[in-house]
Amino acid sequence: MKEATRGPARAANPAGRAGVLAVLLLATVYSLLPVWWLVVSATKGSSDLFSSNGFWFAGRIEIVQNVSTLLGVQDGIFGRWMLNSLLYAVGGALVATLLSAMAGYVLAKYAFRGREAVFNTVLGAILIPAPLFALPLYLMFSATHVVNTFWAVFVPSVVSPFGVYLARIYAAAAVPDELLEAGRIDGAGEFRIFRSIVLRVLQPSLVTVFLFQFVTVWTNYLLPSLMLANDRLQPVTVGLVAWKEQRGQTVPYNLVITGSLLSVVPIVVMFLLLQRYWKAGLTSGSVK
C-alpha cells in the first residue's frame, strides 16, 4: 500500500520529468532518424539521391516510379523475394508459436521425469546465439539432402526456445490448476482442454511469441544465405544485400533503397495489427 502512494509522488517532480522527457525524446530521434532517411531517400530518383539533402525531399517525388521499376527489375524477382520472406516468417512464426504453446504448457502443468532437464536444455539454447547453429545445421541438412530447398530455411524457423520459455512462465502463472481440473471433470480430453481452454488463456503471450519469431525470421540473413544457392528461394534480406553489394552496377541504389523501405513494411503492419494484444501480453506477464 505504501509503495502505491510513493510511486505517483515521484513522477510529479517537474525537473525529473523534464529530464526523462528529454532522454526519451533523444532516444526517439536517434531511432527514427534512419527510418526518416529511408523514407525520404526512397522518394528520390537516382540523380537526386546523391545531389540533394539526405534528410529532406528533392523537388521530384518519384516513389511511384521507383516502386514500379523495382517490381519489374530482373523479371520481378523482388516480389518473389517478398513472398518468400512472408512464407518463411508467417508460416515459421505460426508453427513456432503453436509448438511453443504446447511445449510451454506441458512443461508448466505436467509433472514427469526429466522435465527440468528438458526445460534447462531449452534455456541453454536461448543462451547460444543463433548464428552458432547455422553451420551445424548446414552440415546436418547437407547429409540429409535438404540444403537448397524451402525446408532448409523453414524447418529451423519453427523452433523458438525463447517462445517455449515464455509460454511456460506464462502458463504457470495464468492457467489455474482448478480450471484444468474442471475441464477434466466435465469429461474433456487433454488435447481438448489444451485447444479450447489453455490456448485462449495463453493468447496474449502467444502474440508476443509470434511477433518475436516473425521479426527474427524476417530479418534472418545468415541461415538462408548459407542454406540456399537459388535466387528464387531467397528471402528479401539476402536479395537486397546482393543488390547492394553490386554498388549500383545492375540495380541502381535508389531501387535498393526503395526495396529496403518496402521490406520493413510487413514488420510495421504486423506490429500495428497485433499491438493491442502484445501490450496486454507484456504487462499481464510481468504483473503475475
Binding site: F50, A117, T121, G124, L139, S142, N230, D231, A242
Partner: protein, 435 residues
C-alpha cells in the same frame, strides 16, 4: 540444480556438435553418382550479375561438359562462408568465385584443389599479376576472370579552372596540385582519403609493398614495410595539411562532393568508372581518366584493387574440365563480351583487352577511350604482390585504422602497426606458422 542445468546444456551442445561431425563424415559420399556415358556435370557457384548468361553460352557450345550455375550471396556477405561450409560438408561445387584477396584464405583452409598442371598451359594468356594471384606458393588453384587496374579519375574542367592543364604524373605533383586547388577555393579538394582497405592496398602495391610472402610452410607478414610506410606518410601529410577531404569510401557524402565539384578526383580501380558515372550523372562529360600518379617517373608502376578468379574447389572430381571451363569463361570472346556488358568486368585475359566493347568512347568521360589508360595500367601492376591467409581480419583492421586516421584519432603509421599485430594474432589463433 544449477550444476545440473549446466551439465544438461553442455550435453545438448555436445550432441549437436557430434551430429555435425557425423553429417560431415557421411556427406562426402553424396557427390558421387552418374559417371557413365552422359556429359560431365560441373557445378559452379558465383554471385556476379551476368555470369549465368556466360554459363548458358558455354553449355550451348560444349555438349560434353555441362555447367550448372547457382547464384549465392556475395562472398563477403556470406558467400565465402557458404563455399567453405560446403567443402566441409562434402557437397561443394567444382568451381567457385573466390576473389584474389580471399584465395589464400581458402588455400590455408584446405578448401582448394591443386590445378597447377591443368592451368599451366594457359598462363601466358592472362595478365601476369592475375595469373600469379590465382594461386599461392607456386600452386595454381584457378584461372582469373577480371582484374582491377587503378587510375586517376578526375574533373578535367575543374582542374583546368584552377590552372592545372595536365593531370599530375607523380605523387609529388599530386600534392602540389592539391595545395593549388585548396588555396584557390577553401571548399575544394583534389581528392579524398577514404576507408577502403583494398584501395589502400592498391596504393601500397604500386609503391612496391610486399605484405605477405610464403616460404616452405611459413608465412611472412609485413604490412608496415618501408613501401607501405612511404604511402602512409604521403597521405598522412595531406590529411594533416587538410589538403584532401576525409570521407568514407562509397559514401553518399563522397558522391555529393563529387557532384557539386568540391571533390575533384578519385584514385580508384576500373570498376569505379561506371559507378561514378551512375552516381554523379549531372557532371557527365566533365570527367577524364589519367594514369595513376607514380612515385618514380623513370620506373612507372601501377596498382590493382580487386578481381576474381574461378577457383577449383576441394573434392572436385573433374579438375581438368573445371579448368577448361574456367579458361573458356574468362577468355572466350562471346563470354568476355557478355561479362563486360552485363557484369562490368575488366578482363584478365590479354585477348579480352582488345575486345571491341572496350574501344568505345565514353561520353561521361568526355568521349575519352578510358580503357586504353587501364590497359596500360594493367601492364604495370607488380605480379609479385601476394595476399594473406586472414584477409577478412586484415582488411577489417586496416579499414578501421584508415577511418580513425582520417578522423585524426590515430596516425596511419599506428594503424599499420595495429593491422600487422591483429593479422599476426589471428594467424596464431588459427595455428599458422609465421616467421
Amino acid at each position: 540444480m544449477k550444476n545440473r542445468a549446466l551439465r544438461t546444456a553442455t550435453l545438448a551442445v555436445a550432441i549437436a556438435s557430434l551430429a555435425g561431425t557425423a553429417a560431415c563424415g557421411s556427406g562426402g559420399s553424396g557427390g558421387s553418382g552418374d559417371k557413365a556415358a552422359g556429359p560431365v556435370r560441373i557445378e559452379f557457384w558465383g554471385w556476379a550479375p551476368g555470369y549465368e548468361k556466360s554459363v548458358e553460352l558455354f553449355n550451348s557450345t560444349h555438349p560434353d561438359v555441362q555447367v550448372v550455375y547457382s547464384k549465392i550471396s556475395p562472398g563477403s556477405k556470406g558467400g565465402y562462408t557458404k563455399l567453405l561450409s560446403a567443402v566441409k560438408a562434402g557437397n561443394a561445387p567444382c568451381v567457385g568465385s573466390v576473389g584474389f584477396e580471399t584465395l589464400p584464405t581458402f588455400a590455408a583452409a584446405g578448401a582448394l584443389q591443386d590445378a597447377t598442371a591443368d592451368a599451366a598451359p594457359y598462363a601466358k594468356e592472362y595478365a601476369a599479376s592475375a595469373f600469379a594471384q590465382s594461386g599461392v606458393a607456386g600452386r595454381t588453384y584457378g584461372l582469373p576472370v577480371d582484374i582491377a587496374p587503378m587510375a586517376l579519375i578526375y574533373r578535367k574542367d575543374l582542374f583546368a579552372k584552377y590552372g592545372i592543364t595536365e593531370a599530375p604524373k607523380t605523387w609529388d605533383e599530386y600534392a602540389a596540385d592539391a595545395a593549388v586547388i585548396h588555396a584557390a577555393d577553401p571548399n575544394a579538394y583534389i581528392g579524398y582519403f577514404g576507408n577502403d582497405a583494398y584501395n589502400f592496398a592498391g596504393l601500397a602495391q604500386q609503391a612496391g609493398a610486399k605484405w605477405f610472402g610464403t616460404g616452405g610452410d611459413r608465412w611472412t607478414v609485413s604490412l608496415d614495410d618501408p613501401a607501405t610506410k612511404k604511402v602512409a606518410a604521403f597521405w598522412q601529410g595531406l590529411i594533416d595539411k587538410k589538403l584532401v577531404k576525409v570521407v568514407p569510401s562509397f559514401d553518399t557524402a563522397l558522391y555529393k562532393g563529387m557532384g557539386e565539384g568540391t571533390i575533384l578526383s578519385d584514385v580508384n580501380a576500373v570498376w569505379d568508372t561506371p559507378i561514378l558515372a551512375d552516381s554523379v550523372k549531372q557532371t557527365s562529360g566533365n570527367w577524364a581518366v589519367a594514369p595513376m600518379p607514380v612515385w618514380d617517373a623513370a620506373r612507372p608502376a601501377s596498382g590493382n584493387a580487386g578481381g576474381t578468379p574461378n577457383a577449383v574447389l576441394k573434392g572436385c572430381k573433374h579438375t581438368k574440365e573445371a579448368v577448361e571451363f574456367a579458361h573458356w569463361f574468362g577468355t572466350d570472346p562471346a563470354s568476355v563480351s557478355n561479362l563486360i556488358k552485363e557484369t562490368g568486368i575488366y578482363p584478365a585475359a590479354l585477348s579480352g583487352l582488345d575486345n571491341p566493347a572496350l574501344a568505345a568512347p565514353d561520353p561521361f568521360y568526355g568521349g575519352q577511350r578510358i580503357y586504353d589508360v587501364f590497359k596500360a595500367s594493367a601492364a604495370r601492376v607488380d605480379p609479385g604482390f601476394q595476399w594473406g591467409p586472414v584477409m577478412t581480419r586484415t582488411s577489417a583492421a586496416l579499414g578501421d585504422g584508415l577511418g580513425k586516421a582520417g578522423a585524426g584519432t590515430t596516425t596511419l603509421d599506428a594503424a599499420l602497426a595495429d593491422t600487422q599485430a591483429q593479422t599476426l594474432a589471428e594467424m596464431k589463433t588459427q595455428g599458422m606458422e609465421v616467421g
